[in-house]
Subunit: 427 residues, 2 copies
């Protein structure tokens, strides 16, 4: 079939009517499917059921340093959990603290503390007239929402196949002292699945920020989440920053939410020891310490990085067919039509679809009408505003392969209808 | 023996030398005991070991509403955990949300959100020139520290045997719109073990604050923590506030930290539905949800308020002898000497000791010198400053009865030495 751009208005109309028939057939099936959020499937969660037996009442409850994990204390997490999370994040354990069940919560708290108490002695951001954050987009809506919630101005930075546009990042960071941070998902980025190149990581490390309290928010959410072998390799930001003489510029976040249980995992913050010293001093006002028993449980189950990798191979066996189902349908149904492009990630939780301009909202609305929920169009951009209305995040992890095949067939019909409408409107 | 106030200088000196001999004997024993923090003992923690088996891999992991507790979601906690914590707090489940492992964390976050985002549409506190909090004292050092950390000015409110001085509270709250909150531990107050009277609770409920964003921070930490039967009864703040037409004035906090495991419990926030609606809207930026599996685990173990009460009776059997050991030694050794007064609580975690003026720091220092750590003198007052240097918080829960007896004997010697010094200095 010819690309849509090469069709006449009449041909487009015929195509549209034909597609609409197909759409109505789907709609008549009364589907109720969801490709909206990056949730693990039940099968993935089943893989971690043995963690529930990893700690039981016959067990000694002291950690490796002799602390009773059942009692108060241990603000920075137990030693063996710090070692485990450090291996996942590829940083030293001495640069790592392990906290509660949500790395998003750590990120939010890190911004919140900067708002109220500043960063290493800087003016609290809430006392400043303007605070800005760089937001590589398409990106993760919950990142953008954290900063928006605090009244921080969001600046869109275009993504390239190597990561954020580093010329633009450098220009902002080095010349604008109201720019205090940048949100990054450096490996298998949400939603594109892009892993930042070595050059990109090195340019991050070499930044000379105008603001002393500028930090890189490095959300290493998918550090061990490959489903194609060999997976992508991410250069160590910590090592690059140390080599560049910029040891305090980075915060790194990770969790086991997509390794064990999504709501009951453990999360970690890594940074320079100076940053951690200041952060833990402030954290001491907030809590007496994290759930150490759940940390002990995770170490008992996952053991070490080899245990994590073996476990993630089982996850990959569940994820790979889901991603290939979606990708093969996109390739088959949209391959030569010129109605969009999409990414082919080797890991992570998402596929990013860019349709023609002015089609994303319409595609999502059509899918919704036929019973398939997608991430809201625009969600991947600051303020929920995708200027070209092109990007849709596809989350293939939660539904079964059969459900995905149906949902994705419908998706391609919706994207094609939206494309015909957009092209006809131009004529 | 005569009261110290009736002794001559010479008699005081003889007494002091004699006490000092006793002190040196203790010191020679090389003790290493701790009566500083309100930590449960190992025996108390042992009572909850079966909770570790309450959830296992053979179990269905859905909550009572059919949600898979292993996955993301459920911002306000699972229904059955809300019902359990609501029973403990004596409020409706519809006014209760259940979160992570630390009620201190909920309190901190509640103040933090008020700082950055205001309260129900009010100006964020960080934008105001002055924000003040009322701090009934002696009180809980970690409460005071939360607000101090945010630069909030702390105002000391004297405690009476019925709770905070309500004349002073009313005067501040109704006339000063920079007063935004008051810290309360209404049942078995920390450190005095005082339970607020009905009159006090009703006066709280009837407050007409100058500031629309004033809230009562009601830390119901010891709601079910009686160790003498019958325990104290606390009037329902919620019902009193509703009756007074003041439904939004209260936040209530509680946790299972001193019911199950101190670091691995569940915590709750109760308030009006309007307050909760606003709070959960903001919380959605911070986290996708709490650890629902740990909530399920707690419900499986504690079941309901009857289960909680049965469990707390076992705790009481461990706590009662500890408290009576301390109290009988204080009564025996200090009873008629006029060197101090102390409380006789029926529950909670502390005994409050008020020595003569200018003796608390010295008493704590002497005890430390002989190997017994007490809560720092002054810690029970805002800014760590006890104006009369009188109050010492005694925490009898963690050591064994034998250790407590030794530590407390030493404590009475230290308090007596400090009293002789203070009286001699006056002469």
């Amino acid at each position: 079939m010819k690309a849509y751009q090469e069709l006449s208005a009449q041909e487009l109309q015929v195509e549209q009517e034909c597609l609409y028939q197909g759409f109505l057939e789907f709609k008549a099936r009364g589907l109720k499917l969801n490709m909206a959020r990056g949730k693990p499937s039940s099968e993935q969660l089943d893989l971690s059921m043995p963690i529930l037996d990893a700690i039981n009442s016959f067990q000694a409850m002291n950690d490796s340093e002799g602390t009773d994990t059942r009692n108060y204390g241990g603000l920075t997490g137990i030693k063996e959990a710090r070692e485990l999370m450090a291996q996942i994040m590829e940083v030293p354990a001495s640069n790592t603290i392990v906290l509660g069940n949500s790395s998003l919560n750590i990120m939010y708290d890190t911004v919140a503390r900067s708002m109220t108490n500043g960063v290493m002695g800087s003016t609290p951001w809430c006392k400043l007239d303007k605070v800005r954050f760089l937001c590589p987009a398409p990106g993760y809506d919950r990142h953008f929402a954290v900063t928006e919630n605090f009244g921080i101005e969001l600046i869109t930075i275009p993504m390239t196949s190597e990561g954020p546009d580093m010329d633009l990042v450098t220009q902002y960071v080095e010349n604008d002292d109201s720019v205090k941070g940048i949100w990054c998902v450096p490996k298998y980025s949400n939603p594109q699945g892009i892993t930042y190149s070595e050059e990109t990581v090195r340019r991050f490390a070499a930044l000379e920020p105008a603001a002393a309290d500028f930090r890189i928010y490095w959300d290493n959410a998918y550090a061990v989440h490959d489903f194609v072998e060999p997976g992508d390799v991410l250069l160590s930001l910590k090592e690059a920053c140390d080599a560049a003489g910029n040891p305090d510029i980075w915060y790194m976040f990770a969790s086991t939410s997509k390794i064990t249980f999504a709501g009951s995992g453990i999360s970690a913050l890594a940074s320079s020891q100076s940053n951690l010293a200041e952060i833990t001093k402030q954290m001491a006002f907030q809590t007496i310490g994290p759930d150490k028993i759940n940390q002990l449980r995770h170490v008992a189950f996952l053991r070490d990085i080899d245990g994590v990798r073996a476990h993630m191979k089982k996850q990959a066996a569940l994820l790979a067919p889901r991603f290939s189902t979606v990708l093969s349908i996109l390739d088959e149904q949209l391959g030569d039509l010129g109605v969009g492009e999409w990414t082919h990630p080797k890991g992570g939780y998402f596929i990013s679809f860019d349709g023609l301009a002015n089609t994303a909202k319409r595609t999502v609305a059509l899918a919704k009408e036929a019973g398939v929920t997608l991430t809201g169009a625009g969600a991947t951009y600051p303020y929920g505003n995708d200027p070209l209305d092109r990007n849709i995040r596809i989350a293939p992890t939660y539904p079964s392969v059969d459900e995905l095949a149906i949902a994705c067939q419908l998706f391609t019909i919706c994207a094609r209808i939206a494309a015909t409408e957009a092209l006809l409107a131009q004529q």
